[in-house]
């Protein structure tokens, strides 16, 4: 097999399209996962039972079913209820929702790691529930878990090609498309290298962040 740079040149415009889709899915998926996960965690910790219990049930359910199944469900079943989204939006929602059930566990651990004395001091100062969460508990909890949350971004990057299943052309989708129509392998190789080029520095960054934040 001979490496042919001209195939790489031909593929690059498609690659950039795919990269944009991957990064978009990653960015918005992470934002959903981070914010929704926080909602789950706080609801489970301090919400009334009639909220905490369903939240636990739903998150357990989502976490123990494959992302692929959720993608199909959102793409094929939900539109029949009248809510239709573009494939990319569907993919972002599925990715965000799926990983929110993991980040929620991360937040829960972070919240549990805040010493009980912090809650007691907040009570002793008569801080409202809201203020206790936003000013005292969450800043301490989130700080502890930023590196772990970052790890999930890398995991999501690597899982994002699953969006192909509902027709989203991410990096890998573009690479596969190109390779199958031209019977070449350069495009797939470029995509593989791109994953490493994004993921490895990101994990180095996280390790640096961890040293700074977790003492």
């Amino acid at each position: 097999m001979n490496w042919d740079w001209s195939h790489v040149d031909d593929f690059m415009p498609h690659f950039w399209d795919g990269l944009r889709v991957t990064l978009e899915a990653l960015l918005f998926g992470s934002l959903i996962a981070f914010s929704l996960g926080l909602v789950w965690a706080v609801a489970q910790r301090s919400g009334p039972k009639w909220i905490a219990w369903p939240v636990t049930a739903i998150t357990e359910f989502i976490r123990s079913t494959p992302l692929l199944v959720q993608l199909f469900f959102l793409f094929y079943v939900v539109p029949s209820w009248g809510l239709s989204m573009s494939p990319l939006t569907t993919g972002i929602v599925a990715l965000g929702l799926h990983y929110s059930t993991y980040t929620s566990e991360v937040y829960r651990a972070g919240i549990g790691g805040v010493p009980v004395g912090q809650w007691e001091a907040a009570t002793a100062l008569s801080l409202s529930r809201r203020r206790t969460w936003t000013a005292v508990i969450l800043p301490q909890a989130v700080r502890r878990v930023v590196p772990v949350l970052g790890n999930y971004v890398i995991v999501m990057l690597k899982e994002s090609p699953q969006l192909m299943a509902i027709g989203v052309l991410d990096m890998l989708g573009q690479g596969q498309d190109f390779s199958q129509t031209t019977f070449t392998y350069e495009a797939i190789s470029v995509v593989g290298i791109a994953f490493i080029v994004i993921a490895y520095p990101a994990s180095l960054l996280l390790r640096a962040l961890e040293r700074r934040l977790v003492r």
Partner: protein, 272 residues
């Protein structure tokens, strides 16, 4: 400014209660599992008094402070602050467990300093002190900061307003915690073994601050401590606890010099 936090409950007329009585425990019982920590406890504290609770560990002293701070709930009996029920409220002539709002309102009159300081590590010293006055009492940022700086000066840390708690020694952290509690202008200050977690050389600084507060303010103090000399200095009254009951009470001179109860004598011999 101090009136804001205190006036509402002080102005409530309650003829059934002696005006000078600030805290009343009425048949208060607290159990942890099968262990009864407080057993039908009755006692009261008058406004402005400094009361020290002594006794062997596990005798229920800290539980009293934690009940008053509503960090735990009694299993039986009632607690009144300023003539108002703390963990109960009267609805349709019946005594029912109080809602969160009622508890918060009464609790504003009470401040607490903890053994482990419990400063908020994510906030600078100044913000530790201004957070509650701003978000709970509704002070403006300027008012709250002015109050905080005065208090920091009082505890001898006027130059550490912009430090984070972890940059301070234990003694300094505890002095900030005292300032933080006082910034709410509580009527009652609860001191829960505030020097027990400190290195010996840092204890004196904290006790000096507390002596100063006891002398120069009319704040009511409830103090659990093993520092008997300090207890002797500041107390109007000493309560000796054993197994969830007050077995002896009186002036510090009486308790420390001529205790009546054998158990008190044994305890004092062991700690002095």
């Amino acid at each position: 400014m101090s009136a804001d936090s205190n006036s509402s409950s002080q102005e409530t007329p309650n003829p059934a209660v002696d005006g000078s009585e600030l805290i009343r425990f009425d048949k208060v019982t607290k159990r942890f599992g099968s262990n009864t920590v407080l057993d039908n406890l009755d006692f009261s504290v008058n406004s402005g008094k400094h009361v020290t609770l002594i006794g062997p560990s596990g005798s229920g002293k800290t539980t009293i402070l934690r009940l008053l701070m509503t960090l735990m709930k009694p299993d039986g009996g009632t607690i009144k602050v300023n003539g108002e029920y703390l963990t109960h409220e009267v609805k349709d002539g019946k005594l029912v467990p109080a809602g969160e709002k009622h508890i918060r309102e009464i609790r504003k009159n009470i401040g607490m300093v903890f053994q482990q300081f419990n400063l908020f590590p994510n906030m600078k010293v100044l913000r530790n002190i201004t957070e509650a006055p701003i978000s709970v009492l509704g002070l403006s940022k300027d008012e709250a900061e002015e109050r905080a700086r005065e208090l920091l000066d009082m505890v001898g840390l006027g130059d550490r307003a912009d430090a984070y708690p972890t940059q301070l020694s234990g003694g300094q952290q505890q002095r900030v915690a005292i300032a933080r509690a006082l910034a709410m202008r509580p009527q009652v200050l609860l001191l829960d073994e505030v020097t027990s977690a400190l290195d010996p050389e840092l204890v004196a600084g904290v006790l000096d601050v507390l002596r100063d507060i006891a002398r120069s303010t009319d704040i009511t103090m409830l103090c659990v401590t093993h520092e008997m000399n300090f207890a002797r200095d500041i107390s109007d009254q000493v309560l000796m606890f054993d197994s969830g009951r007050i077995i002896e009470s009186g002036s510090p001179d009486k308790i420390f010099s001529e205790p009546e109860h054998d158990r008190t004598r044994e305890f004092l011999n062991a700690v002095l």
